[in-house]
Amino acid sequence: MTLIGKLLRAVVLLVGIAVSIALWIVLPAAALVGGGLLLAAWLALTRVGRQSMAVTWIGVSTLPQRLGASSVIIIGIAGVVAVLVALLALARGLQETLRGTGNADTAIVLRGGASAELDSGLSREAATLILQAPGVARDASGQPLGTAEVVVVVNLPKKSNESEANVEVRGVGAQAWAVRPNMRIVEGRRFEPGLRELIVGAGARQQFTGLEPGSTISLNGQQWQIVGIFATGDAHESQLVGDAETVATTYRRGGFQSVTVRLASPQAFDQLKAALGSDPRLKVDVRTTRAYYTSQSQGLSKVIRIVGIVIATIMAIGAVFGALNTMYAAISARAREVATLRAIGFGSTPVLVAVVLEAMLLALLGGVLGAVIAWALFNGYTVSTLGANFSQVVFRFDVSPVLLGTGVRWALAIGLVGGLLPAVRAARLPVTAALRES
């Protein structure tokens, strides 16, 4: 064969691999399952397919003899998948926690241009105007369902490393319980308005020391007592909550940071937005809490996701070389076996398919192992990071089935690339020379 022919073949092969990986990543799960079914049908129904099955079975049944070399593929790929799934689960956990904090039934009002509550400031007059605006739901006695809130930050030592971190303290209005019905006391009792009492989110209690019911903490030099623990299942669990007026007095604040209101109906948002926008006394931005909290998580979770994919890609490249090594070694060890098959009439396609399938089977085992490791170690594991308002957000790793699927998909892609080149070599093995090899 001429050199040009060799080069052309190599180029075609590389382009083919690149295209198939791109397809693999882009294709939806349904298409992949369909492809898998087609492959299975081909294997079971056609003559070449059945031959491929037979050759594959020979390879697979001798795997235990090559345990050491095969485990390189499995463990190498398990490492890639575990790291990938763990980092994606971290990003997803943060995103889901913040997205779940907001909903379409409540709206948050901040000063115009403010990107978080800590950048915002609303005067008492403004807060009153917002609470009385049309579109705000009212309770049975005609009071608007809204809470004007003061947000401050306090330093507390973290349990994990005793270093101090910022914790959000939220002073809320009397209607806060009606605005956030998912907020419920799990231990102790509610704070009394007018007293220096705080309730602590379950997440904050877990991450910081000294937040047990009955203990006191210092806010701006004044002693506050912790009287209860609350759960919400969202980012509010990272906070301490007390009475807005009392928190404002402690910090000598004249106004509020934000107003959160319950909307009278889903359509009332536009009404509220129009009313606040046309009031010359107000310069505010109004968003549904869902839009607000979703935007808070976007930057960081995107960064974590990109970092995770970059790290996993580099690891995957390393794992591909490991898989190539193992499969080349397996081919050269079985050169006589393969040549014998060819000599008794098997075509080159079954040999090629068998080697690729064997590599992908090992990769699948590795992918599942890695996904299980990531799930067992990290699912539900609680961590915290610096979120909006310059304070800690407590959230959990969220190893969802979708992420496990992504991990397995990566594993199979690595197996495909690692198996294809050795498979081509096996299929093109010169039969006579290989038979003579010792």
């Binding site: 690891m315 390393g318 490991g322």
Partner: protein, 387 residues
């Protein structure tokens, strides 16, 4: 060393296997180089910290300010050479995702911070122009700002006293370049004229966010810090004084335990790597048993055969590892540039190189020891007979 060509011949025996193994070692150490830079970037808090600087901030939290009157009292504390102060301003440029690191800075700020590379002319221009700001070169390049441009800053914490708006228009009067590569992170900042900020913000004057104190004797900085905190003890603005490094680290730590995450990933990578190259070495020795026996027949001692195989393993890892770290060193500036200045990764330090090479030698040794022992214990007769 005289056997180096022999080791080389062994490595070249199966070129494709050697190349594939080196490439996977390369990938592992590329990752090590990149992640270690991330770890260093976070642990240094983004700037080089002066040992003679301590930072005085509110004991309760970062959002609470201190009275400006504290500056004079701190300046009078024994052991203090110079005091300056600053207040966080915040805000963004054009879009909320372009958050700015900007603060108003007090008198003598650049005497305490020579690291910025601000010339006296620039400092003077800032002092003379009420609405002036100094911006770092990295940030100016990112947004294409020039001296003389107007810089609108939106969404600051502070409204303008006159208009009630939170949009402020500043004039760029200077673009500074940090002279030292390690303090390049300072070029991300926007520095405001204190007098203008103090007069024009609606939340009142005389409030500073934090004080930066230069101590005369870094050895005594702990005692000076205690004396400064004693000034405000039992007042409504108690302070916490810490070294600049602690102050910066406290921010980085709040992002999460970056060090732990990096160590965990590196651990997973190296565990996989060891398994992979260990397998390769075992394979390489297994295939060469007759050759090794021949060497022994020719008079090579057990010990030199052991050394040959051991060296082969070390060389394999070292070639891949050094190439990987070199690639990481080449990629770091690219990553920093691609992040648009969001993530400034320092070049790989001598310490990281030393740790990296120590890791290569350790992994090479662990991987090489079993195959090398096997080669040493070969009995010539059995090996030649293929038993």
């Amino acid at each position: 060393m005289k056997y180096l060509h022999l080791v080389w011949a062994a490595l070249m025996r199966r070129k494709s296997r050697t190349v594939l193994t080196i490439l996977s070692v390369l990938a592992a150490f590329l990752l090590y180089g990149l992640l270690d830079a991330v770890r260093v970037a976070f642990n240094s808090g983004g700037t080089i910290a002066g040992v003679d600087r301590v930072v005085v901030s509110s004991k309760y939290s970062i959002i609470q300010s201190l009275p400006e009157s504290l500056v004079a009292r701190v300046a009078a504390t024994p052991g203090v050479r110079k005091v300056t102060w600053a207040n966080w301003f915040g805000g963004y440029y054009q879009q909320p995702r372009n958050q700015l690191i900007n603060f108003a800075i007090g008198a003598d700020y650049f005497d305490v911070y020579p690291d910025y590379g601000v010339t006296p002319a620039m400092a003077d221009a800032l002092a003379r122009t009420r609405t002036g700001v100094l911006v770092g070169k990295t940030l100016a390049d990112r947004f294409g700002w020039k001296v003389g441009d107007k810089l609108p800053v939106m969404g600051s914490i502070f409204p303008d006293k006159a208009t009630g708006e939170t949009t402020w228009i500043f004039d760029i009067v200077g673009i500074y370049e940090a002279p030292d590569a390690a303090s390049r992170a300072l070029e991300q900042q926007v520095l405001l004229n204190w007098k203008y900020f103090d007069e024009a913000n609606a939340y009142g004057s005389g409030q500073v966010g934090w004080l930066v104190v230069q101590v005369s004797d870094p050895q005594r900085s702990a005692a000076v810090a205690a004396a400064i905190d004693a000034l405000s003890a039992n007042s409504d603005h108690e302070t916490k004084t810490q070294t600049e490094q602690e102050f910066n680290l406290s921010f980085a730590r709040q992002m999460g335990d970056i060090g732990l995450i990096v160590t965990a990933i590196i651990g997973a990578v190296f565990f996989t790597l060891m398994l992979l190259t260990g397998n390769t070495m075992a394979q390489a020795v297994r295939e060469r048993i007759p050759e090794l026996a021949t060497l022994k027949t020719l008079g090579f001692t057990d010990r030199s055969v052991l050394a040959l195989v051991f060296l082969e393993s070390l060389l394999l890892i070292l070639i891949g590892g050094v190439l990987g770290m070199a690639l990481a060193a080449a990629l770091l500036p690219v990553v920093s540039a691609a992040s648009g200045g969001m993530l400034l990764l320092p070049p790989i330090s001598a310490a990281s190189w030393a740790i990296g090479i120590a890791l290569m030698i350790a992994i090479g040794a662990i991987v090489g020891v079993l195959p090398a022992l096997r080669a040493m214990r070969l009995r010539i007769v059995d090996a030649l007979a293929g038993r």
